[in-house]
């Protein structure tokens, strides 16, 4: 039985290759999932033919009706084509449901041909339809998985980029680094910021670090503690820490919370902080005479 379950399907796919590809594309456009706004006809046709060829090779490579498994070696080519097509389409903005409809649109042309060929063998007809239907369903599910994996990867990448962007350690001058903090600080971020800062001190042999809080709206005890811990670690490394840009509100909060900054230098603005930092490494900003 396993022979016959794929025999007719395979014959149809091989003999009517171009017709099925055309019918598949027609079905896609009938259902409005062809997305010619994102893809040229040529590209769509190439992808469709590629999928068809991979499907045929998959069936030839030993797919059988009762032991169908998309993760087996026989389907490796089809999987890679699917991944390629899905990634290509998702990067151009095709939605997962359009992608699924695109794959599922292959059913109709094959089913009609099977019906014509096997009109006199209803049980075999059911068998073959059942087989090819499961295969195509599995493709659709697989596409969805690829979609999700791709999206996860993008989210991950963006999160990394955001984290990097939100804690930029900038070399302002020889031996002077600045770390402009923006937004809210939580423990995880504070840890990341500190690691980043200390590594940069080591790499750039920085002697003074200005931690600028101008962009920080509110400070709670935890954040204040993180700041002081960061300053202590910077000192242990052998560099000096200047905290600048403490707003009046934050200053009041810190005093009310009883946070003792100890020996850490604080400056009202990053401008004063920079002047102080340059002074410590032996530079000065001098006004030109004729201005």
């Amino acid at each position: 039985m396993t022979e016959t379950a794929t025999e007719t399907v395979l014959t149809i796919l091989q003999h009517d290759f171009e017709e099925i590809v055309s019918a598949w594309i027609t079905t896609q456009s009938d259902e409005g999932v062809q997305r010619t706004d994102l893809f040229s006809h040529k590209e769509g046709r190439e992808q469709t033919s590629g999928l068809m060829r991979a499907l045929i090779s998959g069936i030839e490579n030993g797919a059988t009706g009762d032991r169908f498994d998309l993760s087996s070696d026989a389907w490796a080519e089809l999987r890679s084509v699917l991944v390629e097509v899905t990634q290509e389409r998702s990067s151009r903005g095709v939605t997962p449901s359009d992608m699924a409809s695109f794959v599922l649109a292959l059913k109709a042309p094959i089913f009609y041909r099977l019906k014509d060929k096997l009109a006199d063998f209803p049980s075999q007809l059911v068998e073959e339809i059942w087989f090819i239907s499961r295969v195509i369903d599995a493709f659709a599910v697989y596409c969805a998985e690829v979609f999700i994996a791709e999206r996860d990867r993008i989210i991950e990448q963006q999160r990394d980029q955001m984290q990097e962007l939100s804690t930029p350690v900038v070399e302002l001058w020889d031996k002077v680094l600045t770390l402009p903090l923006i937004g809210t600080m939580d423990s995880a971020r504070a840890q990341e910021v500190m690691e980043n800062l200390l590594e940069t001190i080591l790499r750039r042999e920085a002697e003074v670090v200005i931690v600028d809080l101008t962009g920080v709206q509110t400070v709670d005890t935890q954040v204040a503690q993180h700041m002081l811990r960061m300053a202590a670690a910077v000192r242990l490394m052998g560099a000096q820490c200047i905290i600048s840009g403490i707003s009046p509100t934050i200053a009041q909060t810190m005093v009310q919370l009883g946070v003792d900054v100890g020996e850490v230098t604080t400056r009202s603005t990053i401008r004063n902080g920079l002047a102080d930092a340059l002074d410590r490494v032996g530079y000065a900003i001098v006004k030109k005479k004729d201005h």
Binding site: I201, A232, A233, R235, L236, G238
Partner: protein, 116 residues
């Protein structure tokens, strides 16, 4: 006194490079030897290079702090130089800020500071 931490006397300053694999006994020996050398050589400073240390525990942290305290009593300034980021973070987490010691990025920086 283990060879793992030889003490050099240069320009009135005692230099020690702490080795990566220093043991608890070694560091106790070092503390004793250094204390004696500060007096014997009339050293004005002790510079400890800990750039080889990749991890510290409370014991090592405490000895480093004690060394600074002892040196201070004997009229020598302690410098801890070359601390790695991970070590700095650990010491801060442990609440040890080595406030008795000065710190510097490297031996060169400490010597520059001492000559000034």
């Amino acid at each position: 006194m283990s060879a793992a931490s030889a003490i050099y006397f240069v320009e009135g300053v005692l230099l020690v490079a702490i080795q990566e694999d220093i043991s608890d006994t070694d560091i106790l020996d070092l503390q004793e030897a250094l204390s004696e050398r500060v007096v014997a050589d009339a050293a004005r400073a002790v510079v400890m290079d800990i750039s080889a240390l990749e991890i510290v525990d409370t014991f090592v942290g405490r000895i480093l702090a004690q060394l600074a305290g002892v040196s201070k009593l004997l009229d020598a300034q302690t410098y801890v130089v070359g601390m790695r980021p991970a070590v700095a973070m650990t010491l801060v987490e442990l609440g040890m800020d080595l406030s008795e010691s000065k710190t510097a990025l490297s031996l060169t920086h400490a010597l520059r500071d001492l000559r000034a």
